[in-house]
Symmetry: C2
Subunit: 378 residues, 2 copies
Amino acid sequence: MTTTIGPVTPQQMHFAEALPLASGARLADYHLVYETYGTLNAARSNAVLVCHALNAGAHVAGLDAEGQLGWWDNLVGPGKPLDTNRFFVIGVNNPGSCFGSTGPMHPNPATGRAWGADFPVVTVEDWVDAQARLVERLGIGRLAAVIGGSLGGMQALAWTLRHAERVQHCIAVATAPNLSAQNIAFNEVARRAIVTDPEFHGGHFYAHGVLPRRGLRVARMIGHITYLSDDSMEAKFGRELKAGPAGALGYTTQDIEFQIESYLRYQGDKFSEYFDANTYLLITRALDYFDPARAHGGNLAAAFAPARDKRFLLVSFTTDWRFAPARSREIVKALVDNHIAVNYAEIDAPHGHDAFLLDDARYHGVLRAYFDRVARSV
Amino acid sequence: MTTTIGPVTPQQMHFAEALPLASGARLADYHLVYETYGTLNAARSNAVLVCHALNAGAHVAGLDAEGQLGWWDNLVGPGKPLDTNRFFVIGVNNPGSCFGSTGPMHPNPATGRAWGADFPVVTVEDWVDAQARLVERLGIGRLAAVIGGSLGGMQALAWTLRHAERVQHCIAVATAPNLSAQNIAFNEVARRAIVTDPEFHGGHFYAHGVLPRRGLRVARMIGHITYLSDDSMEAKFGRELKAGPAGALGYTTQDIEFQIESYLRYQGDKFSEYFDANTYLLITRALDYFDPARAHGGNLAAAFAPARDKRFLLVSFTTDWRFAPARSREIVKALVDNHIAVNYAEIDAPHGHDAFLLDDARYHGVLRAYFDRVARSV
């Protein structure tokens, strides 16, 4: 039997000491929002950190005060694959995000006005450093595991490179050792849509009382296409008309004719109401910049040398064309080249990149088995 | 030896009789711009019609007065695979386009002002009907062949269904029997970028003396991603920095960091200076609507029954993820089901959808051999 946790209450931790960033800038006087589930054991050895991707935050599991389920609730909870009866699970929102932690909509201490586009560029490594400080404050010397999907998977990998002594297992799902030119291209188009929206105002739209909704809508629509597989989009929408199977064609260039258009517009509209435009730029840039092999002349195996005594689980999905299985296999090869223990599961799932968020029996079975193993090592 | 034709002069044909459109509307008092290359033989049996895709027009081959090479000059000319020493080749710009034929920037006879967004929605079938009228005016009873790539391939297919008695061979390259949900999705995002650009003014931007450049740029950038293969983009740009291999990271969200960004922005900027926004909407919609099986309950084989005594060459490219080989194979199967003579070549080329415009030896070899066969049947 699995049950749902809740209501869970987000907590906040303030950091007075500035965080040095990869860019050379420093983030001063910031706070992180986080949630925890389960109980830290006496040995403080059962903590698992969950890292989020673009459109998520600290609310990983359970119901919050508004009745919203956590974004990975199908995975995390009592009796679930990441079982909160055994593990103390931490969800934390990264700086630069728009879900509670210090971000572009918060005041810049230097000016008293919203950071806006002046918020410092943050990297996956910066986030991992911020997370490591939080984990330390929580009195946890070493994490049993760190887990994430997509951009969250990149953070899980970065933990084993920057804070190797402070993590035992890394579970990286639907991720990549860096973005391809095509991945960067999609991010760049989305950013251009936002930045060229007249209501973006160079990133200082807060002061103008407007939001660059047009740009955000287009950005989200592009994103959605890359999250779904061609096949699942075909199965779900195909060429179905909004007017229904017996409906007549409207012969229109601006109104909705096909269901897929209706779906994408709805996703874009919804997203543009709550997601921060500057956060979109920051997070897609963090994705672009992630490239642990860069400091090693492109040699990914050399990059993974610090992770030598860690254990890894990599998971990919056959229909994920954003971060295809071949990208996970690059990581597996780099680990094997270092004689690092790695399990790899390539899940035959139809849902594309989004599969990492879905409740697929084979996928969750692999995670459950792996967390059983983590539990034995606690 | 191949040589380049030129200078070639575009010609114009006026049509006083209204063209009935699939939507039920009629296009009155329109003109078509066309070019011809080679000489029509005495039997008037050696004419080949070339159909264009989104970003092209009547100028197929040779040098025009401005010194611009035709968009398919590598294929069409003396001694080239479509040899103008043997064939009389016709290039025609479709109505609704922005390369000379009647389109949204021309005056609406009902108002005297530019058509703008009121230009009637045109379909692949409408274009083929307009082309058939032009061919008739040129005194050609039956085309030896019709050829096109991508959207041009759809027109070539439509000829064999609507004007079967007036065409002998159909050569359809890098095309599909209809758009997938993903194809429509990319078109829709591009359209939304254009339509929500404040300078679009509901499609009547001509009267405001502005152009929706921001939207067109984003639309073109999205298009470009889908025209190239993931691999060719990776080979051409990878993660190369604008600052060069030894360059430092700029840590910027709005400035160019990677070469792929520079390339896409350049393509977007260039396109936005000359391409008409209303034409972009019209042509992407013509793509969305093309679906010959629709009138036959989705049965593509039934749709191809009128093409029973035609001969077909279908060509696809292995790395084309926009109109993948599987889409061409659907057409081949429908033809085979009708016992129609079809040759099919799946070319192992790295360049994605754009390959249909490039000079690949195996691809052009297949076309040369097929046109030899067409020449023998003239």
